[in-house]
Structures are given as structure tokens and as C-alpha cells.
Symmetry: C2
Subunit: 418 residues, 2 copies
Amino acid sequence: MPFHRHTLANDLQIIGETSPSARSAALGFFVRTGSRDETPEECGVTHFLEHMVFKGTPHRTALDVNRDFDKIGADYNAFTSEENTVFHAAVLPEYLPQAVDILADILRPSLRTEDFDMEKKVIIEEIGMYEDQPMWSAYDHAKRIYFAEHKLGNSILGTPASITALTRDQMAAYFTRRYVAPNITVVAAGRFDWPRFVELVESKCGNWEKGRVGREGVRETPGSQRFEVMIKEKVMQEHVFLIASGPSADSPLRHAADLLGMAVGDDSGSRLYWALVDPGLADSAECSFHEYEGAGAFYTSFSCEPDQAEEDLAVVRDVLHGVQRDGISEEELNQARSKVLSRVVRGSERPKGRMMAIGMSWTYQHEYRPVDEDWRAYEAVTLPAIRQVLERYPIDRVTTLALGPLKALTRPSDNGSR
Amino acid sequence: MPFHRHTLANDLQIIGETSPSARSAALGFFVRTGSRDETPEECGVTHFLEHMVFKGTPHRTALDVNRDFDKIGADYNAFTSEENTVFHAAVLPEYLPQAVDILADILRPSLRTEDFDMEKKVIIEEIGMYEDQPMWSAYDHAKRIYFAEHKLGNSILGTPASITALTRDQMAAYFTRRYVAPNITVVAAGRFDWPRFVELVESKCGNWEKGRVGREGVRETPGSQRFEVMIKEKVMQEHVFLIASGPSADSPLRHAADLLGMAVGDDSGSRLYWALVDPGLADSAECSFHEYEGAGAFYTSFSCEPDQAEEDLAVVRDVLHGVQRDGISEEELNQARSKVLSRVVRGSERPKGRMMAIGMSWTYQHEYRPVDEDWRAYEAVTLPAIRQVLERYPIDRVTTLALGPLKALTRPSDNGSR
């Protein structure tokens, strides 16, 4: 599948992977900005801005945006993470020009004050909805406590207070600073004509401001290694997160870290599954590796009846100590590899999956990775590489957060191997 | 993409669509049996049996089943509907033989009494979980009231009472009656070798009992046209379903019915969306067409604040009356078509999507439908065809069920155009 790239005069980047066997096309606008790029006063602005992008432009009302996407039968959406805001649409090949037109237009939003004030209420309601989900809430607090003053600990949604305080002009200033051409990559995958696509994007985005962008605070962190219990009496189950550090998104160790996380805590057939879920000691127990720019982390979590939490925490710590001491077996590595390869390959069969994959690897590694290369990188992971990950990033050196009805939980005397 | 078919001596059917550009393979065992094939004493047995299939065979414990799927990195699952029980797995091409081996093995389950008794508790818990979801609960009750004595009204999950009363021997008798070779189609799609696949299936399933199977009570129904309010004080919102009849799964009108349902009530940009969701009168409002063997139905539903329900019901009835009287516009038809074609095409890009599509059209129409043929069927739908659907199946001749805190809701004096 041929890869193409082109940079406009304003430094906006365009990449694409054309696939003759595809029957649709997927399009994404990747803005390299997220909650880690916010000042404390701007807390939550990236996600709020993602919503405002759909509220209209000088050429389209919010209704028009909705109607125009609907007319072409687009499957469209957007998301905001710690470091990326991505707007995307999947369409039949003949509608790609319209999809480019709509997305390019809405990425220069009007940010009208009336819409801003109205959407503020929606955002505050959304924060409330997430707070009602104990697992998500535990994850968010654990991340904040783990990262401490590191900017990756910034809340993506913000708080009702930070959103209430935010002004339309603060958002406009953030937009002007972060949504500049060199900070945006336009990505297409599937069935489309590359030269025509470049022309289209150039005609719609060629006049976007150039500006200068960067990202502060890119560094590793061992995490705070704190141990906290948050009492939430209305929550039924106890939800516990243990976070340890891991390699970053440009580290050659990241594929090994991914397989290690899966062997330890995939939702079926992993160490944690057999230790907690299969015997019925916990409702769920998982571990997974997340990579960021400059940092990475292993998120281990479980949820259970409150009176079971003390025992379960001891079991999880035993599992993590055991892995840290003895590593994993060749069989566990191979099983994790089968699962990951199966997901990589199945994910690559749709233009949407490829669009996301090439957009992300361009954002993080500034390189194009065909599926086969990802495949080979996972194939090449050996037990010594797993050992290297563990030596550099002890998986049992954890920051712990429990959220639920429990008043207290015993802090273990040791905390990992360092 | 070449289609293949083969029937074994015991009348088990094998079909496959090989695709050279695919990177994985998807496999499904389609058992043509569901809740409509149960006697009143067997209520819930099909779904319960689907669970028991994963509990082990003479050659595998439940643990082995889980471990063997995990070893090959399979994405596997199963579901039970009113008329089908489908077991499926997506894998890398080299693991297809193992996937066939596992699925063929578990489709001859041991049905051990200890496992049966243990799983009974899981099923009863699952029924409780679904009852806690008011939208699902309203759907289930509405379907029961609409279909009345028609067997499509049978509950898929059963009730705690019916599951408690069920014996292991009743399940074994149901299995012997329904899981016979002529009632099963084995389906593969993606990258695989057809002759080798047939050999494999034959070696694993060639000795399965032949038996005789049928299905009783295959007929259309105009529905009971009743109007019921179920009081659930603990539910926050009011959830309302209106069901009207539609064409069946082998009717030439089904593509028109599908587009009509989408124009009336897709979750964005439809009549109901603009009438209720966009102005904030309801949290959700949808209409969709469901097809079954011998019957079909349009399910219209909305949820809202209880004190808004009376007005919203009037709005929904106005929308349905308006559609019945004047049909939809060319623009609405085209927009619905764009959405459906986009979904059809994107769904076809993965072997799993194709496996489901060809398995279902084989089950219902006893024919192979390449993607292009489905495409052409939707392309060919005209406004006169929409009119034909409405004349034969008035969309405003409804059975109504409201579930929520409301004590009463006014029954409209008229009920549709007939």
C-alpha cells in the first residue's frame, strides 16, 4: 500500500496511504494539542474547544455541520486526549471532497459567545456524567496523583469550576496558539486519489496561519508513588488503580512493554485474569501499557466487593512482584503476541483503522509505519527485551489510588523493587 | 470475491467468501434456532444453552476453551436472537484450523449438571442486569405486547422463574432437537483456502446427527395494537416504544423499509431527530426497521422527562401520521441511502462483517449476496417503493408501551390509518 506525504508552504502536513482494495476512505485532522498543553487557567479548554468546533463557522451554522455530514452518510466524530485532538470522518470514496470541505471549514470555528455559553452547560453536565462512573473517576484521580506536577496529570475534561471560569477570549487565544498549520496533520487512508486530495487540502487549508508551536514539560517521571484512599460512600464497589512508569511513544522498548502489559493483565487469559477474575475474587482486573510523548505508564486496575479489596490488593501486588522478579514465560509472551498481532491485523483491514494508525505514528515517531513493520516489531520482542523493560521501569514501583466506600486500606510496607 | 458452497452428507451446510486482499479470516457457526423455537416450558433455554456451549466438552474443560481461544489470539463471542444462535471467531489466517477445531468441539457440549446449576445463577443475574436497563426493559415488554401470541414475542432471556424451573434434561432434549446438522451453517470469510476448509469442517462435523428440523408459526402479524403503561417508580425517565408491522426478511420490500426507518428515525438528521432531539424535547428518539423470518416491524422509541412524555408522544404520532399520509421526500430518501450505503460498504471491509452478512443472507434468503448486489438493491429504491411499504404496512398503526414513573398517559383516540 503506497504511502504519500506532502508539506504545504505554511508547514501543514498531509499524509496518506492509498489502498486499491478498500471500498471507502477515512479522513482525519490531527491537531497536536491536548490537556498537557494547557495552563492551569485553561484547564479543560482543549476538550471544550473540540465541542465548539462543531458549533459553526462563518459559512455554516451548527445545524449545517450536522446536515452536511448526514447528507454524505459520514461516520464522523472527534476525541481529545492528553496530547491530541483528532477530528475524523469515514465516507464512500465519492464523498471525500465534501468531507475535506466540512472538516477544513469547521477547524476554523466562529467560537460565538452565545454558543460558547450554551456549550459550557453541556460540558459541565458531561463532567458530572463521567464523575458518576466510578471506574473512570478512579482512573482520572489515579492519573492526577501519579503524574503529580507533570503536565500529563492535567485533567482532560477540567472541573466545573475551571470550565465556569473559562472565557470565550481565553479559548480564542488558545485556538490561535495551538491550531496553527505546523501543528496539524491531515491524514487519509483507503480508496482515494492522492494528487487530487493534496490539491483539495491545499485549497482549503493553504491560508491557515503558520505560527510557532512547541510542547513544554516533555520528560519521564517515576510517578509520585503515593498511596491514597478516596472515600465515596455512594459507590457500591471498590475501584483500585496502581500505576507504574513505562517507556515513551518513541522508545524502542514500547512493543515489549505492550506485550508485557497484555501478558500481565489482558481481560482474558492473563496473570491477573487467572489470579482474580477466574476465581471470582474481583469483577474485573486488568493491566495495560499507555504511551505518551516522553513518558509511558502501566495502568493496573481492579474492582471488587469492598470487603474483598484488602485481599485483592495483596494478590495484585504479589502478581506484580512476581513479574518483576521472574519476568514472564515464553508461553505467556507468545500468547500475548498472538493477541496483539491479531488486533493489529484486524484493525488494519479498515481505512479508519489505518488512518488512525498512520496518523498516530506520524504524530509520535515522525515516520510512516506499514502494517508489516509493526508486525515485525512485535515478532522481534524476546524475553530479554521484557527483562530490559522491567529493569528500567519496575512494574511493581506503583502509585496507588482506591476509590469507593472503604474508609481505609492498609498501605503495604514495601513499594516495589527500588 | 469468489463464493463457495458445499453440503455435507448429513446436510450441514458450508459456505465461504474468499478475499485475496484480506489479512485475517472470520468463522461463524450459525444455528437456526432462537427464542421463537421454544415451548413455553423451555422459555430462555436457547440463550442459556449458548452459555453452556462454552462450559466444556468431552475433550475440553471450560478453562481449556478459554485458553485455547486465547492461545490463537482469537476475537470470539456468541449471541442469541429470536431466531438464530451464532458462535463466531476472527483470527489470523494461520489459526483458522484451530478455530474450526475449537468451535466444532464446543458445539457438541457436555452439558454437565454441575456446570448447568452454576450457570443458572449467572443467567438469572444477567436477567436482573437487563431489567435494570429501562430502555432495554421497555423494548422487551413492548415486543411481547406487540407480538402477543405470535412466537416472536417470546423472551430471549426468559424469566427468573422459567430459568429456575428449567432442568438439564430439558436443555439436552432441546439441544438434540435443534442443534442437528441440517439446522447449522458453517461460514468463513477473508483469507483462507476453501478446499482445505471444507475438509476440516467435514472431519469435525461430518458425524453430527442429521435429524429433522422446522420452525412453527412463521406468519405475519399486524400486532396487538394495544396501549399499555408500565409503572416503574424507580426509573428516572419515561421510555416509550411504538411498534408497527413491516415486511419480512425475504420480502422484496425490505430494502425500502430499511431506508424508510432510517429517514424517519436515524439517530442523527432524521424526522424524529429534528422534531424531538434537536429542540431538546427528548433525550433520544429513534426508529428502525427489524426483519424476521415471515414478519417484520418498525420500532419507534423515545425517552424523556416524565412530564414531557404526553407532548412527545403527540409529536411522535404526528410524525408517523405525516409520513403515512405524505411519505418522505426525495432528499430524505437520498440522505438515508447515503447513510445505509456507507454502513454497508464500511461493514464489508472486514472479514467479520462479510461473514455475518453472508451467513445471515444464507440463513434467510438461501442465497449468496455479494456486496454489490446489496448496494444495487438500495440504489434501486424509489419513492413509489416507499409508498408501497406504507400502504401494505401503515407505520402509524402502532402498539404502544410506556415504561417509567408515569402513572398514566392519554391513549390517543385514533390509532393509525386503518
